[in-house]
Symmetry: C2
Subunit: 402 residues, 2 copies
Amino acid sequence: MTGVSRRRVLGLSGAGLAAGAAAGAGVQRAVSAGRDGPPAEIPFHGAHQAGIVTPVQDRLHFAAFDVVTESRARLVRTLQEWTAAAAAMTAGRPVGGGAVGGPPVAPPDDTGEALGLPASRLTLTIGFGPSLFGRRHLGLAARRPPALADLPRFPGDRLDPARSGGDIAVQACADDPQVAVHAVRNLARLGFGTVAVRWSQLGFGKTSSTTPQAQTPRNLFGFKDGTANIPGTATALLDRHVWAAAGDGAPWMAGGSYLVVRRIRMHIETWDRTSLQEQEEIIGRDKAEGAPAGRARERDEVVLGRMRPDAHVRLAHPGGNGGARILRRGFSFTDGTDGLGRLDAGLFFIAFQRDPRTGFVPIQRSLAPDRLNEYIQHVGSGVYACPPGVGPGGYWGEGLFA
Amino acid sequence: MTGVSRRRVLGLSGAGLAAGAAAGAGVQRAVSAGRDGPPAEIPFHGAHQAGIVTPVQDRLHFAAFDVVTESRARLVRTLQEWTAAAAAMTAGRPVGGGAVGGPPVAPPDDTGEALGLPASRLTLTIGFGPSLFGRRHLGLAARRPPALADLPRFPGDRLDPARSGGDIAVQACADDPQVAVHAVRNLARLGFGTVAVRWSQLGFGKTSSTTPQAQTPRNLFGFKDGTANIPGTATALLDRHVWAAAGDGAPWMAGGSYLVVRRIRMHIETWDRTSLQEQEEIIGRDKAEGAPAGRARERDEVVLGRMRPDAHVRLAHPGGNGGARILRRGFSFTDGTDGLGRLDAGLFFIAFQRDPRTGFVPIQRSLAPDRLNEYIQHVGSGVYACPPGVGPGGYWGEGLFA
């Protein structure tokens, strides 16, 4: 019998309870003082889900699940278990609460690879895809929000069904990828028999900031990205462009938001052979500073007339698309190499909005003449209704299933 | 014309040279005070290559290249360009030295996505695979080290040729994945026409430590890994087990080391349904503390007789395999999902040794009865001769091509 098993047996045997509890507390202390310094915990409970206006973390693990049960009650039970697990993990605690929890004759409550790591600003954000509402046995068809419309086909789309859609999506963001991967894995484990992973995506570097003071990150084209993003603190803009309201057609979504994800492959080898001047004209910003064309500094106001009519920044700008705005929090990805020896790299685009029909869709339509399209291709896609936040005792999606 | 181009044109126009230099210095300052605090630069030049005994960084981008030229001179030129680029990037500077370097009518010298980021302890470590010595036009056959033998086939191997081998390997490690990915991408770009990426692998979490004081990381089975690794500071052990010597059969490899990589898929869904007790017996350590079976603390000496004969730690222990030792610095990986909805996750095993024939090979052979084999599968493999370090003015592999 090994050390910890012995300790656990001692802990379970009456007189040893205090010793067992002390050992557990030791692990908790380790969690609180992990290798990356003081823990940074993002509150799980609240009016809105965390992971939307939360300052963008460093790493992403996104997973889309399909429901594999016909039992609505079983799905609800899984969502309740997920909610409890998410509350624990986002607080830096293992699933189940204990060290490696549970009796030695059973699988551990937690898979263990995040033991000793701090919460790392982990957020878990859930969304429900259109296909969930089409599963007859679940009886959700009448509750599908009008804003959760299927995305139209855009010119140039080359979507892989194996990297698109899904009944349920979970966005896990953390400053430590091991913490984000641990979270998705444990949700998949808890959901065994109820849901199965349809596809997943790791992101290694954020490409948008929601905190205006922070240094703007660079995407894999080497340009600063997200300079003009909606700040996570701009309450009026968020109410107008990001949060769904009770009168929007699906009262259970009030305080929620709609998530659009796009796996955008970047042809970086071609881009890397393009001249600096052409790169800057295509984007509409200079590369070193990030200043809009014809201006000196990154935060200088964009003057649309000073950039080419087909510059990316101009086409994506609210002044060029009828006023549509979205909150972006995308990540760069690199998934090895394709069959032609090119890096399979790009941008995993993530945007939250009040209604994709007046957010992502018109913006993406206005990008049709974008010369950047020669260097990118949309290969995966998803749209999901992310319900409002959960209060203590509540569970993810309770308004939908109530 | 955009801001930076204007500045650059000014800089090139005689009177504006000082202004241009100042702008460049500004970018350098940004590099030195990046978002992760003070820069941590690992010296590139030295007797040994960095990235072997260097304390293991947080993230990995490993790339294997095939040579696509028949010109030995062209390959040498690429290795020289790579060496200069590696020296710049590991010092936190962009390739070419300038901000986004070069004239606006040419592609930038550097792809730019690491501008403003600190060096992040980037190391770049090169190795030459057996297939390089088989390329007739390069005339290297007689210089193949005896220690660079092809690895034998091991029971249970299911190696994918698309994730194995390669003429040249580059291990990029850094605390920021964007820095590691940037480095591999820029080497691939510089090597265009000379080498092509054969395969690559990202690792998100280190699974071995080479610094005995540090907290031992956990692998995706949730266990601490690498407790008994060779410390990067144990000079005598390194000379005996890690560094090749002049008398080993290939004088150009003196001060170098041999690298074995294995992509080890972990069947984590199956593992997660295994009882804690069985997990601990299979590994030979307890899960929470990492103590060897029958002992109390992680660093307590392993007593082979107190664990099962087929426990992983016992079989891998020098006392159980005839004294073989290797320096491990592997990383966990997660590459999305396989066709069956399982996470494509595991361990990218990395080991350095003086001679794989007396290092990895006997250790892996001794692991044949390991019950862990029910939960893992080796799906990729590579062995490479990593030459000694480079002095100022030298280049990667100069001893081989001299």
